[in-house]
Amino acid sequence: MVDTVKLTIDGREIEVDKRLTLLQACELAGAEVPRFCFHDRLSIAGNCRMCLVEVEKAPKPVASCAQPIADGMVVHTRGPVAAKAQKGAMEFLLINHPLDCPICDQGGECDLQDQAMGYGKGISRYDEMKRSVQEKDFGPLIKTFMTRCIHCTRCVRFMEEIAGVPELGMTGRGEDSEITTYVERGIDSEMSGNIIDLCPVGALTSKPYAFIARPWELRKTESVDVMDAVGSNIRIDARGREVLRVLPRLHEDVNEEWIADKTRFAVDGLIRRRLDTPWIKQDGKLAKASWQDAIGAVAARLQDRDGDRIAAIAGDLVDCETLYAAKMLMANLGSPHLDCRQDGMAIDPAVRASWLFNTTIAGIEEADACLLIGCDPRHEAALVNTRLRKRWRRGGFKVASIGPALDLTFPVTNLGAGPESLPHLAQGQGGFAEILQAAQRPMVIVGAGALSRIDGAAVLAAARAIADRFGAVADGWNGFNVLHTAASRVGALDLGFVPGPGGRNTSGILDGARSGAIDTVILLGADEIDMAALKGAFVIYIGHHGDAGAAAADIILPAAAYTEKDATYVNLEGRPQHASRAVFPPGEAREDWAILRALSGLLGQPLPFDSHGELREAMQKAVPHLAAFDEIMPASWEDFGVAGAMADTAFASPVADYYRTCAISRASVTMERCSAAFAMPPAATGTEG
């Protein structure tokens, strides 16, 4: 039960939660109040003065963003007093703002432009020189034009509060105020790109996107991201056949309104190193080929081959429809050797609760203690880390980690480097055991790195034992979580893209290829395995980038990247979401499912669908929860993991370099620059260019 107050806004009486500010109350009453510095998810600054409104009995207009509401307030947001105040505030803001909209990248999506039209005077009475401000080096992602800055401090507050990397500040005073890092350096945060969206003017814009396009030229497609397993909701902006940028889309339960830098900036990798035509290896060298020849050669290789000699490995960016079609194809070929776990994750493919982030991302906000086992959420799933930080900021949230020392932007107690600390904790020893014991809603997060070790199954069992010991799984609460790094992984596990009876898993397939037991390997965008093992085998690569897999291939069938197909992806929580086609695949490349369908026809056993719609329908019939778009089907808590001895080697994160984790980000020039600026040990202070 929240206390409410009644107030009258523009003649309309409403009753609202008394914790709201006046600006939020005005919004609820349907009154639009202009603002620059106020942002729902940031602390209140009250420094742009644009949101002035008239409150009866107040001696002067009040800044509504910072004004608590009271019973009986009578507010006018559009009367002569408010309008004059807003015009005045706008005139002040424009005093030092350059009139350079035609050459400003923010043009067309600029709050200052829009609000100057809506609330400004149209003329200036200011005849003096405008001030100019020196440019700053914020690194390879953010372009600055600080003369345009209106000092709303949204970027400063975001970096401190949400990103947890307080590197920005406002130095100087009065006319000499500047937003700066002071000691010049790039902003080292995987969330930094969000300040581009937050900046209400053109002071902070996207460096890779500079002078590329105007917003009205872009075709906007709502989709989801695959750079990590979070499934951030994104909007893909494209012009012609090229994806020009990616922006976040609001989803309160997943990414709120933020996206990580890799999601936003890796898209230039979509036009580099692309496979845009089939290739066939002749005399040890890959040569361009026609679809007919290439797919015919694949069919010839597979036709009449003993299924036991064929294997398939799926990569980290593959969508559910492709996996479903590939699984059916493998069944037709009579092969049980298929796996989606390139890294060898020791997940129990029978128990869904063993591979989900069961707490859900939004559920983190209800947790009161968290144990990280061999994971680095900041670099493996930046938005999960952002949510953990959000929970930590509210207070009463203790986090401990078993694994490498971490800088997660909030305090983390390190309990040890390797699995040797797990049994101790499971027996209730140590200070953090008491914290977990006392917690009402404890959560355990197991990293992909911890599960892909040789002793992964034992680590999984030990993590489960800890979850059971401290009551992390109770009615209405499941605190056991696996933190995936691969966008395809949960969907693939849901679809059962794992070895069939008697089948080999990834390491088994690689061993088989080494020994010759497996002589034909289909790689579905799999680039992160030991390609040397496949030397003796005939490798068919179906994927979109010329990465490690394509280099090892005998035949390459060019496929579509995530921006080029309608597809289902399941995020780490188990939430099915749809990616949409924003552009067509380049050159001769085709959608993955169509390639597999055509191949099955040549093999004389056509897969039972002729369109993407039919395929999706069949898939949803086979795995019904994939049809529940954007809904999480909770998984039941069952036995999983194999208790056993664990090695004493330290846990390591699978993400060595945040900016280069998949074929797309490895092809991206922007990510290469970031990697040089931030991921490598800094030569001096990280300044360049």
Partner: protein, 203 residues
């Protein structure tokens, strides 16, 4: 020109590291101890002042030390140090001459004082003489309007100046002689020139 313009001094001036002297460290700790636990950040201004007394100015390395002592973001200390104009962000000479040019001093010919300083020392605002003795800085009202025009040299006020007495002061300082702070025209504090005009018979 960046003495008070919110930017750090050139890297070649910046020392690589900073540490409080054994005399100053307890003083810094005492300043921190004045504030309740979790509110140590409140001590940022006294600590920067101690730095300035020790160094004559506030280098970036010292701001970093202060930030780490107070467990606050480094940029937070930079914000404070650049906001307040009395923290020197560049090295200053042995004598920092702050000339008031606000209205009462201006009406009493602070322009003449400024000219005398610039000409005699051969430097402009925010510059330091080659021998490292003097730095010249223009400031707003220092609150000694009754004795205008005035300058502040290091911690002392020198008031009721004329271009001649100003030059005399500079020469005396350059020779290393002791100079007497306060009015330079024989006045006692802000009493009328030539002695009291009222209450003569009292006490």
């Amino acid at each position: 020109m960046s003495l008070a313009r919110g930017r750090p001094s050139a890297p070649e001036h910046q020392p690589a590291s900073f540490a409080f002297t054994p005399e100053n460290l307890p003083e810094a700790r005492a300043a921190i101890a004045k504030y309740p636990a979790g509110r140590q950040q409140s001590a940022v201004m006294p600590l920067l002042y101690i730095v300035q007394r020790q160094m004559g100015w506030v280098p970036v390395a010292a701001m970093d030390v202060v930030a780490d002592m107070l467990e606050m973001p480094r940029v937070g200390v930079y914000e404070v140090a650049t906001f307040y104009t009395m923290y020197n962000l560049e090295p200053v000479g042995e004598y920092l001459i702050q000339v008031c040019t606000t209205t009462p001093c201006m009406l009493r010919d602070s322009d003449g004082i400024v000219d005398a300083c610039k000409k005699h020392l051969g430097i402009d605002w925010e510059e330091t003489t080659a021998d490292g003795k003097f730095t010249l800085k223009e400031v707003e009202c220092l609150g000694a309007c009754a004795n205008a025009p005035m300058v502040q040299i290091n911690d002392d006020f020198f008031e009721d100046l004329t271009p001649q007495t100003m030059v005399g002061l500079l020469d005396a300082l350059r020779r290393g002689e002791a100079v007497k702070p306060g009015p330079q025209n024989g006045r006692h504090t802000s009493e009328p020139e030539g002695g009291p005009t009222t209450l003569k018979g009292g006490a």
